[in-house]
Symmetry: C2
Subunit: 334 residues, 2 copies
DNA sequence: CTGAAAGCGCTTACAG
DNA sequence: CTGAAAGCGCTTACAG
């Protein structure tokens, strides 16, 4: 299987490679009509398609970006990716997806791999474990956009939910429905996973804002696979909360596993709100009240920012943080 | 930002480009120890990383494969992709993901794009709408593996669920639990979406096998966004089924929306089984009985087959269909 | 043991 | 209006 090259086309059409190249790049300005037709014909007849690799080498641009997510199995990542792809597709950019699994080592390997592949830019859910690398990228003005996480001292365009607002919305909804003893359940606060910290801060601030004193025992943290134990503790204390905010979709899953196991009725025995929309929110009984991230808008914005940086190199705008508004889906679990 | 090239390294180390290249490719056989160290040092000092694009051009291999899924938002696709990535990552292959959205035009563009990018092979959920293209790929011995769908007359390695068996397992489970009036709900049977056809055939065969006469009115088809209407019809007939098999996860979702809306109790009012595992199966009330596809195993197999074809060109083994066994997750909805 | 040279398939500045 | 030539950053067969 020998691939057809530009030389074959040139020979077949009886012109030079240069001219064929001009044709392929639609620089018809000075091209004779006859020449153009002959090339057109040759291309068709030979079924020629250009070797982008060769072009990239010469042009030093691959029209490809890399996307490093924590885990493609997470719904949020999946939606962000989909939005990025759709946007890039329109602009004739291609996308390479990588799973860093929140492992700085893997992230580093992927960033290096993507650079070796000469991608024009990267969108990443940064692990936060490669500060030196991030700095090096900024240093050489390599286009990068971060998603979902803010890395302190690193100035890079970042697209992120207004996480405090998400907690605010939840607290307000609880209060509106008459719940005042509000608890919150969170996975461990790893450094750099901005969203968790912010959601917890937002929770505290919202209570404060509503003149409710924050109760230490109403905020508990645990590994996902252990969080049902933690939840049990929370609910077995003397004056347990009557409402519970699940910090993310995975926590919500465990909360529901727990309430199912213990035959608790929602919202009578416990009102529940989850941050992150889940696919089964509407069909669950009761339908689940959630706070939704505009994942598609966020993905699109990230792609837009990145492609802007790639195409307007001159325009070295200062990096900013772009906050997106969460949305309350008020249903039956609260 | 001028990138460091092999020439810079050569100069810095005081050797030729050839030698540096040998070093990078770990062909140390005849290399002097001193030379090796000097290069090692230069590479580090300059922070050199090779330009894979240039290498690919020369070697005519990009160590990259393309994956064309119908929709990355579908859980099954997501899991297959993850398995493919993990496998490829181990073998130092990279993956480019594309969403064809079951649109033959898009599929065609993506296949051409991937070939322009000189990928070494493609794994696709074929739309079935580009038979000529598929044939052309086989013709030039371009490595391809299909997932989930069998395209008639096209001989290509295909990884697919034993869909008939999936229906068999469901029917058996219904019978075991004492349900004999078994209905099935399906999305429209588009040509080429093999799995739907097979699941329906399996359903009929299973009934036949159990000496139950198949009732036309117990098998209904409808667009997803209209399937609740169809379901209503099914359940309002004179002698409605007491058990229902949902052909896939999206049908199941609608079935559950319906039973929730009409306050039906599962399994008392209607026993339900869904083909495809869903994330909420265990936390739903009742927990949902499902038939699960081994998505990760299937993705891994597809990757394995493709990389084998890529690396053992000589070994032109006949394309086969690889069937995977579905698994019954017996829970409470049946 | 190491290096000069050719070549992968394009693009582009320049000459005519 | 078209073409010869150089070059993108590598690899590799071959010479020494």
């Amino acid at each position: 299987m020998r691939r057809i090259t530009i030389s074959d086309v040139a020979e077949h059409a009886g012109v030079s490679k240069s001219t064929v190249s001009q044709y392929l790049n639609k620089r018809y300005d000075y091209m004779g009509k006859k020449t153009k037709e002959r090339i057109e014909h040759a291309v068709k007849e030979l079924g020629y398609s250009p070797n982008i690799i060769a072009r990239s080498l010469k042009q030093k641009s691959t029209m490809t970006i890399g996307v490093i997510v924590a885990n493609i199995l997470h719904v949020f990542s999946t939606q962000v990716i989909r939005a990025i792809e759709d946007f890039c597709n329109e602009k004739d950019f291609h996308v390479i997806i990588c799973n860093a699994d929140d492992d700085p080592e893997k992230e580093k390997r992927y960033i290096e791999m993507l650079q070796s592949k000469q991608v024009d830019g990267i969108i990443a859910f940064p692990t936060g474990g490669n500060v030196e690398l991030y700095k090096a990228l900024i240093e050489v003005q390599f286009p990068v956009v971060f998603m979902d996480r803010i890395i302190p001292w690193i100035e890079i365009d970042t697209v992120i939910l207004d996480n405090e607002k998400a907690s605010f919305l939840a607290v307000e909804e609880f209060l509106r429905k008459g719940y005042r003893e509000i608890g919150m359940l969170s996975p461990p606060l790893r450094e750099n996973v901005t969203s968790r910290m912010e959601r917890i801060n937002g929770f505290k601030k919202a209570l404060d804002n509503k003149q409710i004193t924050f109760n230490q025992n109403y905020l508990m943290v645990g590994e996902i696979n252990n969080i049902q134990v933690v939840m049990k503790e929370m609910l077995e204390q003397d004056n347990p909360p009557d409402a519970l905010l699940a910090l993310n979709d995975r926590v919500l899953h465990e909360v529901l596993a727990f309430t199912k196991k213990h035959r608790m009725r929602l919202p009578e025995d416990l009102a529940v709100i989850g941050i992150d929309e889940v696919s089964y929110a509407n069909i669950y009984s009761p339908a689940l009240t959630t706070i939704q991230q505009p994942a598609f808008d966020m993905g699109k914005k990230a792609a837009e920012l990145l492609l802007n940086r790639i195409t307007n190199k001159e325009n070295c705008m200062d990096p900013k943080i772009y906050r997106f508004e969460p949305k309350l889906n008020s249903r039956e679990s609260c």
